[in-house]
């Protein structure tokens, strides 16, 4: 199987987000960047499919040179190749333009593929747009938020998480699948993998090579404001024995907060 996995560089989940109000962007200084956690499930699933069925796993990322570090991590986990789709624009919060870059890269550079794997959403922009958009642009079926995946010949079956249930989705290959926690347990990078990744040359795909102009991928999203959430105040601590405190809490929830 020829599998392409799309990964994104994001601040780790323990990060405190700070905002530069002049540029309407988050302040990157001091942040620790990682592969978006959902994307790690996608890489792991690709590696397992390769181990079971043979083939090749390529990790790709849209971004600036800083994404090379993220791609090296993908290689260190075990991917065969890595590709940087060079994008000068910082985070635009616009799934459509990222999807256009990816769809065009696939068409022009990697038309022979069986599966496109993504994380269900980046842990950051939280858009959950790119997998479905790429599927539409390439005319492929999609299965998003997947916790179980089986490939048999030219078709696939996936369990996709919905509210309080799972949908069993059946589809033909090639297809787009996005990974959710529960799909697998991602492996750690090995020392051998890290050493091998260091030696790998990561090819860079540019807009020009893709035959795209800046206008073709101009953001449809205009950032009006970026703000911190409203600060919450610490409320009251309810004293007393567990029974007394529980009774008072129930009373406050009904009488004061009027929430139950």
């Amino acid at each position: 199987m020829n599998i392409l996995v799309f990964i994104k560089r994001v601040p780790d989940t323990e990060s405190k987000i700070r905002i530069n109000y002049d540029t309407r962007a988050i302040i990157e200084d001091g942040l620790n960047f990682v592969i978006s956690p959902n994307d790690e499930y996608a890489i792991e699933e690709a590696l397992r499919l390769r181990e079971a069925k043979g083939g090749q796993v390529t990790v790709l990322s849209v971004g600036g040179d800083e994404a090379l570090t993220t791609l090296k991590k993908g290689l260190a986990m075990g991917a065969d190749e890595a590709v940087l789709i060079k994008d000068e624009l910082k985070e635009s919060y616009d799934g459509l333009r990222v999807a256009r870059l990816i769809a065009r890269t696939v068409e022009k550079k990697y038309p022979q593929f069986d599966l496109l794997l993504f994380g269900k959403q980046s842990v950051g922009a939280d858009n959950a747009q790119v997998p479905s958009m790429v599927a539409e642009m390439l005319g492929l079926p999609q299965a998003n938020v997947v916790t179980k995946l089986e490939i048999e010949g030219a078709s696939g079956t996936a369990h996709r998480e919905i509210e309080g249930a799972m949908e069993k989705v059946v589809f033909s290959l090639p297809a787009v699948v996005s990974a959710q926690k529960g799909l697998n347990e991602p492996r750690y990078e090995t020392l051998k993998g890290i050493m091998a990744a260091k030696k790998k040359v990561i090819p860079v795909v540019t807009l020009e090579e893709l035959g795209l102009t800046k206008d073709d991928v101009a953001p449809q999203v205009e950032v009006v404001a970026l703000e911190m959430p409203p600060a919450r105040q610490a409320g009251k601590i309810i004293p007393g024995t567990p029974e007394e405190a529980a009774k008072e809490l129930a009373r406050l929830l009904r009488r004061e907060a009027k929430i139950i």
Partner: protein, 324 residues
């Protein structure tokens, strides 16, 4: 016209679709236009007059044999056909599992941008402005979409669903135009967990447990508590999920689900930053923890410093009395 996609599950309209419809009605009124609701399926009917009372002037029913079960490809193609014909200014979805799967596919078909999981929609200088959490709620992004129509998904449990309109309106039934072979993947089956409770993203009340629960067997306490509270669900912190005490679909936080219930009760959860991000837009927060210094108390409206194993059963008895 503002078009709202109406999602049904087992023949029932989703509450979050009515919330989206109601919000469409409010914003459309500001811009001097009306609202359409659209249902997609094999043999769909209007279900009941609900949609008119929540603000729809027109209800579109898009039908095709291929649409008997859900597929993003089929549904997006059907909606695309209607949108090309009816030319709405905006298209709203609830940000449910289906909404988040379908809206981006439709947006790409239309070649337009998309605002995901919005928590506020406003009209400014005659244009829609969307606000949505990013980094699971560690920051909020307010954006405009340059493209048209304006496509957005609206977070469940945030927008009020208000029935105030007429109980009747126009029903427009259409055969959806689907090219042969357009649908290459579809839902073949629905696997419902036994005793499947309400999802944390849709619950009015979340009863959530963390490392302080000490083990998987103790989540039964939280299930018992949830059982006495209407429209409630059991949530969990990442450490509880990663310890294998409860399924990941219950996880609240940056690598789990971002939730906005009316009431969030955290038991034995210290309040790691990634957890706080995922639940701090809850209307009321309760924390019960042995450690008085736990960061969760900094965001809690009501706190009890104490042993959750004593507080939870007592609270269950008190709430049971209230709801009886």
């Amino acid at each position: 016209m503002f078009l709202t996609f109406i999602e049904t599950r087992e023949g029932k309209i989703k509450k979050s679709s009515l919330e989206a419809l109601s919000e469409a009605k409010r914003r459309a009124a500001e811009l001097g236009t009306d609202v359409g609701a659209v249902l997609v399926g094999k043999d769909v009917d209007c279900l009941d007059p609900t949609l008119f009372s929540y603000g729809a002037a027109r209800v579109f029913l898009l039908e095709h044999a291929e649409l008997a079960s859900y597929s993003a490809q089929g549904y997006a193609a059907a909606l695309h056909g209607l949108i090309k014909e009816a030319a709405p200014e905006a298209v709203f979805f609830a940000a449910t599992a289906m909404g988040k799967d379908l809206a981006p596919r439709l947006a790409a078909k239309l070649g337009v941008g998309l605002a995901t999981d919005c928590t506020a929609v406003a009209v400014k200088d005659g244009k829609l402005v969307f606000t949505r959490p990013i980094y699971a709620g560690k920051a909020f992004l307010t954006l405009r979409l340059k493209s048209s129509p304006q496509v957005a998904t609206l977070r469940p449990n945030v927008f009020p669903a208000v029935a105030e309109g007429a109980a009747a309106g126009e029903v427009v039934k259409k055969a959806a135009a689907l090219p042969d072979g357009a649908v290459k993947g579809r839902v073949a089956d629905l696997i419902v967990e036994s005793g499947a409770e309400i999802d944390v993203t849709e619950a009015d009340v979340i009863v959530s447990g963390g490392r302080g629960m000490k083990g998987p067997e103790n989540f039964a306490l939280l299930k018992d508590l949830a059982a006495v509270i209407p429209r409630s669900a059991v949530g969990a912190s990442r450490s509880a999920v990663d310890s294998g005490w409860i399924g990941h679909q219950h996880q609240v936080g940056q690598t789990g689900k971002t939730v906005s219930p009316g009431l969030y009760m955290a038991f034995g959860i210290s309040g790691a930053i990634q957890h706080l991000a995922g639940m701090s837009s809850s209307k009321v927060i309760v924390a019960v923890n042995k450690d008085a210094e736990a960061p969760i108390f900094k965001v809690a409206d009501y706190g009890i410093v104490g042993d959750l194993f004593q507080v939870v059963p007592a609270l269950k008895d008190e709430l049971k009395k209230l709801f009886e």
